[in-house]
């Protein structure tokens, strides 16, 4: 398939399957109907996907906690005292610092503040660590780039 016709057909089939898969302007119910028409058991498939999504979310969280642990050890080595300092903080102090740090970063961060209050203290500490790391990276990058 080294000729132009072959390439053109590849573009064609790519566009075709892209167009047929799009759902612009269709409601979830209409899309669901189309999937049923295709012979797909939507309910069963959706349940499997939702279960898998939960697994992915949990795995990502575990992964992040592992990363955070490594980073915590690194941070402790580089900035002894930070984690010790926040360990005695109240949830309100952590929340205030999260907002302060997020606002101070050059790079826009997507923190959904409205739901932070409902988070556990452990989650908030993890987020604070992420932001602190982002701040450290920014400082490091600035230093590196002169």
């Amino acid at each position: 398939m080294s000729n132009d016709k072959g390439k053109k057909n590849l573009v064609f089939i790519d566009a075709l399957t892209d167009a047929l898969g799009r759902s612009e302007g269709l409601s979830v119910e209409e899309i669901t109907d189309e999937l049923w028409e295709e012979g797909i058991d939507v309910e069963a498939t959706l349940q499997r996907l939702l279960v898998k999504r939960e697994e992915i979310s949990r795995a990502a969280k575990r992964e992040r906690l592992e990363e955070a642990k490594k980073e915590r050890l690194r941070m402790e080595a580089e900035r002894p005292g930070f984690l010790k300092r926040i360990s005695g903080w109240t949830k309100e102090q952590i929340l205030a610092t999260i907002k302060e740090l997020a606002a101070s970063l050059d790079e826009a961060v997507s923190v959904s503040f409205r739901d932070l209050e409902s988070k556990s203290r452990e989650d908030l500490v993890a987020l604070l660590e992420d932001l602190e790391l982002a701040k450290q990276r920014e400082s490091y990058d600035k230093k590196e780039n002169g």
């Binding site: 057909n9 566009a15 399957t17 939702l50 999504r53 990502a60 923190v111």
Partner: protein, 218 residues
């Protein structure tokens, strides 16, 4: 290049850009039941491309891989940062990931062999091995025989579309758009002057007529 292909550039992982872990916060709050339905439809459509060419890709695996990448833990450490300005809706972001994965394959199909998702021992291969060989470095030159079969499959699909459009001017205009790589319904509507509803109805007709389609290989 179609729009699915256009999204590829935007979806490639910038190695200098780190995954933004705060995205997970928003992912956790999404209404996944309604998000996954259009993503599933898109994955099924893209899987047909492989099916028509004689290969197999599991749509659910594509959806799961897209979700994994959005969570920062895709196969082989791949990830995608959700650009909310470009994709305000999570479903569009996930669809862009699948478009990227599968368009990549299309672009490389000339040079890389597509393989089944299972190994000889029956175990599942990583999706990345199957649909994005260039990303993993596992390049397989296709044989001249496979090249001919692939070309015939593509030709057969192309002919089928023109058969369907025969005597239907609106459908003909849509097929011409697809041939030019224009694939988004709103872009097709703009290019053809047809109402978006008409475009959607025609695409639905096309989907129905292609439901049982199998490419004819000489």
């Amino acid at each position: 290049m179609n729009e699915g292909g256009n999204e590829e550039g935007a979806s490639q992982v910038n190695k200098e850009e780190r995954y933004d872990p705060t995205i997970r916060e928003e992912l956790g709050q999404a209404d996944w039941e309604s998000v996954l339905i259009p993503v599933l439809k898109y994955a099924h459509s893209r899987a047909k491309k492989f099916h028509w060419l004689g290969f197999s890709v599991e749509p659910e695996e594509m959806v799961n891989e897209a979700v994994s990448r959005a969570y920062g833990s895709g196969t082989g450490g791949t990830y995608r940062n959700w650009n909310r300005e470009k994709y305000p809706r999570l479903e569009d972001f996930l669809i862009s990931i699948i478009a990227s994965m599968t368009s990549h394959q299309a672009e490389h199909a000339e040079r890389f062999k597509m393989e089944p998702l299972t190994r000889e021992d029956g175990t599942q291969k990583d999706l990345e091995d199957m649909i994005s060989p260039a990303a993993t470095g596992s390049h397989y030159p296709i044989t001249p025989e496979e090249e001919i079969l692939l070309a015939e499959g593509l030709e057969s699909i192309s002919s089928k579309l023109y058969d369907i459009a025969e005597g239907d001017e609106d459908m003909g205009s849509i097929v011409v758009c697809l041939e030019d790589g224009i694939s988004r319904p709103r872009e097709i509507a703009k290019a053809t002057g047809l109402d978006k509803k008409v475009v959607n109805n025609k695409l639905r007709t096309l989907r129905r007529k292609l439901k049982e389609f199998r490419p004819v290989l000489r």
